[in-house]
Amino acid sequence: MATSQPRYRVPAPKFRPGDEPDFSDLKLQPAGEAKRPGIDCSWKDTVDHATGLVGALDHNHQAVGEWNPELDPDTLREGLRHMVLTRVYDERMQKLQRQGKMSFYMKSTGEEAVSVAAAMALRDSDMVFPSYRQQGILFARGRDIVDMMCHCISNSRDNLKGRQLPVHYTWAEGNFFSISGNLGTQFPQAVGWAMGARYKNEDQVTASWIGDGTTAEGDFHGALTLASTYRAPVIFNVVNNQWAISTFQGIAQGDAPSLAVKGLGYGLPSIRVDGNDFLAVYAATKWAADRARAGHGATLLELYTYRAAAHSTSDDPSGYRPKEEATKWPLGDPIERLKNHLIGLEEWDEQRHEAMEAELNDLVVKSYKEAESYGTLHDGPLSPVPSIFEDVTADTDWRLIRQRQDLGV
């Protein structure tokens, strides 16, 4: 029987389906207010940052404060373009999934700044260990869209030979690690890579991303412990998009005042950043990368954002949150905000924006046509069947030789 009063606290989100979402009592530090500590700062200098919010784009879409990265308009337009491309690509792929062209898809809608701005603030030679929701990095680093699609539709040109679920990209040439379906495993791996880079006397920085829900995993703790102990040149990005499938972020956060604050316990400078503010994400990432490169060790960045779409094509959020929550999100949409900033600077206008959207849409449609010419999961051609026996280890032992015979291929 249900007891009237739960006997321990089980946190619940403010709003459930049917409720009117209202974020007005979410007290967020205004853009421009947070100070920018030196890159040689200690964790103590970031106590306020860990519970505050680093922002650079204010309500009027103007760049303000110490965290304004002062990017030139070309760079801003490039960022906007990557974000729009990410969104257009996501939309199209989701549609194609609905049409049965691929088994599964995951959008990053509303979170495009998190990946695009970070990728642009890093060097292309810096290593990334993303989760499944940072496809924006690939666009920012110029990965071929047809190649990305070939992976997602598991066709004969999938660089992963059809072995991984869609969106679980790998791109070694682009310094993009193999995405794992197991949450959080990449976080401590990134520390190992970062130490490896130092070992080889390279000045490469390593960045990794996990979600708010994933901070609860043991690997989160292992990663921060390693980085704190060995002072590894790594950036830990926690993408707080408020949801972990159907679970709101309070189940991972508990009584902690933010997720960034967790980094302080390891003596790591830790900053909460407006994740929908392209400029802020850029500036914070650049700051963390500079720190790492200068030998000051790791930084934790909490990117405060909102997962505007479903978790994946297997999920329907109407069962657990109000439909309008995304539109009520007080930090807005990262594309709109950067676009308006550029318009305010008179470096952009609605017409150019529409033209760009149309162009990118065409690019995506055209790319998909080409990708499909190399096959689809449903109709093939796929990677040859015998390829399932390859790459298990460097050599092929008698067991796989027999098994391949057994399969008759």
Binding site: M1, A2, T3, S4, P6, R7, Y8, V10, A12, R16, S103, F104, S154, D158, K161, G162, R163, Q164, L165, H168, S180, G181, N182, L183, G184, G213, T214, A216, E217, G218, D219, A244, I245, S246, T247, I251, A252, G254, S314, D315, G319, Y320, L377, L382, S383, V385, S387, I388, F389, V392, R399, L400, Q403, D406, L407, V409
Partner: protein
Amino acid sequence: MAKMNMIQALNSALDVAMENDPNVLCFGEDAGYFGGVFRVTAGLQKKYGLDRCFDAPINEAAIAAMAVGMAAKGLRPVAEIQFADYIFPAIDQIVSEMSRIRYRSAGQFTQPIVVRSPWGGGIRGGQTHSMSPEAFFTHVPGIKVVIPSNPYDAKGLLLASIESDDPIIFFEPKRIYNGPFDGQADGALQSWANHPKGEVPEGHYTVDLNKAEVVREGSAVTVVTYGTLVHVALAAAEKSGIDAEVIDLKTLTPYDIETISDSVKKTGRCIVANEAPRTSSFSAELAAQIQEDCFWSLEAPIHRIAGWDTPYPHAHEWSYFPGQQRFINAMKSVTETV
């Protein structure tokens, strides 16, 4: 009696258990408000309250440990691991703690826990939503492993598991949550509605944890398997016309050696099958024990059907999953051996 698919049957088992015993509670990632990504815990939070069915942080080790602590205190926790592929972070708490606490405390503390988890392949889940990691747990003294193959058993076995005073790893073949699967990927989807084991009593009943079931009698060869492959084996017997006796194991540890031996001694031939990669999979244990117990009756080597010794591939799932054709080939080869 009602028509239920396996999800409904499992949900009904939890409902009955929670209704009957205030010490039963359940939790897991997305298991609370939403009722689980497969909806097995749907409605339970609403019915029984926030503290009896709730969402857990994404930390499988902590989920298992929470169950360990609660069970030691006298509760009967049912913990959900969202996919069997994600049970590995919890395996230390299961192997080093849950399984041994009765033994190491000489019975001062016990561990009446069920760890439920959607399991197995055939749903285009790729390498992280398709694993069949049962062999790991069958190697651990002090825990039992249970895998149902239909709604009726699912409910009865889950209730028996919750009522058991020892920890049980309860794997749910997600491919057959909604209907049986004959191993032909391009065949029509089937439903439990027309299957006799889709008839499920609404109230309380249990299915014996120590008993395998001969689900098809036959004289030509014994096929021992569990979960989804039970249906593939049955379909292969029908299709091939080979008079196979099919045994649904249900409980893997301790497995029902008597039912298996009786059958193999009768047929003289045996196939053991599982979805997991072949080497050191549970069919190895079965084959090793059967050859020991039935050596003098065997007229051909025991044949193992299993997944290949590779990670579970995504696009070529149907070249990996042991489908009908592999069963038919095996049945032919085993029965033709003289």
